[in-house]
Amino acid sequence: MSTTRTDTVAAPRRFPLREVILFVALLVAVLGVYGVMGAAYSTRMLVEAACYAILALGLTIQWGYAGQFNAGVMGFVALGGFCAMFFSVPVNEAFWGSELPGELGVVLAYIVGAVLLVVGASRLDRLGVPKRLRTLITVVLAVVLYLVVISAFRDVAGQIEDQAGFIGGLGLPAWVGWIIGGALAGGVGYFIGHVCLGLRSDYLAIATIGIAEIIKAFLKNSDWLTRGTATYSQLPWPVPGPAEVGFTLARALYFSVTAVMIAVIFFLLHRAYHAPWGRMIRAIRDNEISAAAMGKDINKRRLEIFVLGCILMGIGGAVLASFNSLFDPQGYLPLNHTFLVLVMVILGGPGNNLGTIFGALAVYVIWLMSEPLALFVMELVVNFGEGAFGWEAPASLDSRALQARVFVIGLLITLVLRFAPKGLLPEKVKHVD
C-alpha cells in the first residue's frame, strides 16, 4: 500500500500560458504608462497598486477562500490609516506638557471601570438574582453609566481641542503603526465576525457596511484624536523621503518595501492554502454540512479567516496612508476603498492569489487612467452637443464626468458575476480521480 495521499500528488505540470499572457500584457500597459506619464507619476501608481494588492489579498481570503462577503473594506483601511498616523506622527508637546494627559487617563479609567461594572451586573444571576431583574439592572446601569462617562469624556475632548489642537502622535517608526493597524483592524473584525458569522451570509455584508460608516464617522468627528476634517499631512516614511533622494528614487524605494511585503504575504498564503488548514477552509466553503460532519469547528474557522483578512486590510490601509503622507478621514470613500477592491478580487480570480495580485495591478492602472479618459470623453460629448444642438453644458461637468466611473465599476461587477464568475485567473481546484 502506498503511503502518499492522492490529493498531495502534484498535478501534471502544464505551461501557464494564460498567466504569462496576462502578466506580459500588464507589463506592456505599465511600460506604456511610464512612457506617457513620466517615471515619478508611474512609480507612484505602482506603489498605490501594490498597497491595493495587499487589500485585495485580504479580501480574497475572505471571499475566495471562505465565501464571506465583506462590504466594509473601507472601515478597516481607515483604521489602518489612523494607526499609521497615530504612531508615526511627532509627539505633540502642547498636549503632553499640560495637565490634559492626566485628565484623559482618568476618563479612560472611568470608562474601564464602567465597563467592568456593567459586565459584573450582567453576571448577577450567579449570585441568585432572578434573570429578569438582572437584565433590568444591567440595562439601567449601562445607560446611566454611559451618560455619566460620555459627558465627562466630551469635556476632556473639548479641552484638548481648545488647548492643544489634538493629542498628536507617538513619534515611533512607521512600521509600528502598520503592525498595530493590522491588529486593531483584526480586533474590530473579530467583534463583527463573532456577531455575524453564525448567521446568514447577507448579515455580514450589512454589518460590515455599517461598521465601515461608523469608523469613518468616528475618525471624522474625533477632532481631539485625528484633527478630523482638518486632516494631518506629512506622515513620515520608513524609507528616505522625496526631499532627500528625489521623487522617483524615494517612491521606488517605497515600492520595494511594499513588493517585499506582498511577496511575504503571498508566500505565507500559498503555504497555508496547500496546507491541511487550507483544505479544511475550502471544504467548509464548498460543503459546510459535510465539513461539520467531519468534526470541523465551522464557526471558529470562519472567524479565523475573517480576522486574518481584516488584519491584511488594516496593514494595507496603513501602508497606503503612510505613502500618501496624508490622513484624511473624509477621503475614505466606499467606491475607492471597498468596491474597487471588490472588482480587483472578482475580476482577477477569487481564491487565486496570483490572479488577485494581477487583478489589483490591472484594475488600478485602468482606474487611474480612466480619470483623464472620462474627462476627455465628456469633452467630446460637450463639443458635439454644442455643435449639433447648441446645448449649453452645466458648469459642474468635470465632477460629473468622474461619476461616470461609478457607473462603469458597477457595470463591471455585474458583468463579471454574470459572464466570468471565476475571474480571469480562476482558482485551480484539484480533482482527484
Partner: protein, 334 residues
Amino acid sequence: MNELVFFINNVVIAGSVTGSIYAIGAVGVTLIFSIMRFAHFAHGDMMTFGAFMVLLLTTLFPQAGAAIGVPTPLIMLPLAIVLTAALAVGIDRAFYKPLRAHGVKPIVMVIGSLGVTLMLQGLIRLFAGTGGESLYVDDRKEIFRLALPIEGVRVPVVVTEPQLYLFVLTIVCVVGLHFFLSRSRLGKAMRAMSDNPALAQASGINTNTIVAVTWVIAGGLAAIAGTLLSLDVTFKPDLSFFLLLPIFAAAIVGGVGHPYGAIAGGFVVGFAETLAVFNWSVLLRPFRDSLPDWLAQAGNLAFVGTEYKIVVPFFILVAILVWRPTGIFKGKVI
C-alpha cells in the same frame, strides 16, 4: 409644559417621520428577501431614483399642482412610482434573473445588487449633479403652528405640509399592503411562495409573475419612501448609503420576510434614532431646583451627537443579531 411641546416636536413628530420612511423602505426589502432570499442593497438607490424622477417631472411641469391645489411633487408621485416599478422589473430582468438562472448562492446576488447600486448612483449623479435640491420647485412649503390651548405654553407644535402627506400616505400604504397580502389572489400566492417556493410552484403558481409583482411593489414603495424623504428635507443624490443601514436594521428587527414586522421595525429604528440624539437635559429643566447639582448642571445629555446617528441602527442591528436573530416577530428566514 414648554419642554413637553419641545419633546413632542423633536421626538414624537420627528420620530414618526423617520419611522414611516424607514418602515416603507423596510417593507420593500423584506418582501424581496422573502421571495428571492437575498438582501437587496440597491433599495436605497431605487428610493433615490424615485425621488429623482419626481424632481425631474416637477421641474418640467412646475405649474401642474396649482391647478388642483396640491404641491406638484405629489401629483408627479404616481408617475414616478410607475417609472421606478418599471426600473425595478427591468433591473431584475437584466441583472438578477440571469444570476438566479445560474443558481448562484444568495451572497452572489448581494454582490450583484451592489453593482446595480453603483450603476444607479453613477447615473443619478451624472444627470442630477452632486448637490442637494429642493423638490418644492414652484410651490411653497406650508408650515402649520398649532398653539396649544393650555395656560403658559408659548411654544407651538410644528408640523409641515409634507409631513402631513407623509403620515396619510404611510397609512394608505400599510392598509393597502395589508389588504393586498391577505385578500387578493396574488398576495396570497406571494405569501405561499415565501413560505415554500417549490410547493407554490407545484400547486400552479407562476413564480415568474410573483417575482415581477414583488419588484413592482418594492419599486413603488421605494419611490414613495424616497419622494417623501426628499419632500421633508431635500433631494440628495447620495442619500442611499445612509438609508441602507437603518432600513436593513428595521427589516431584521421586525423579522426578515415579515412585512408587518418590517413596519414595526421601521418605527422602532426611527424612534430609537430620534430618542438617542434628543438632549434629555431639556426635560429635566423644570425640576432644576430639586435635582442634585451635578445633574442640573449637565448641559448635554444626548446619548450620541447627531454626527453619530448612524451608530444607533447599527447598535440595534448588533443587539438583535446577538439576542434574537429571528427578529421580534419571528421572521422565517434566518
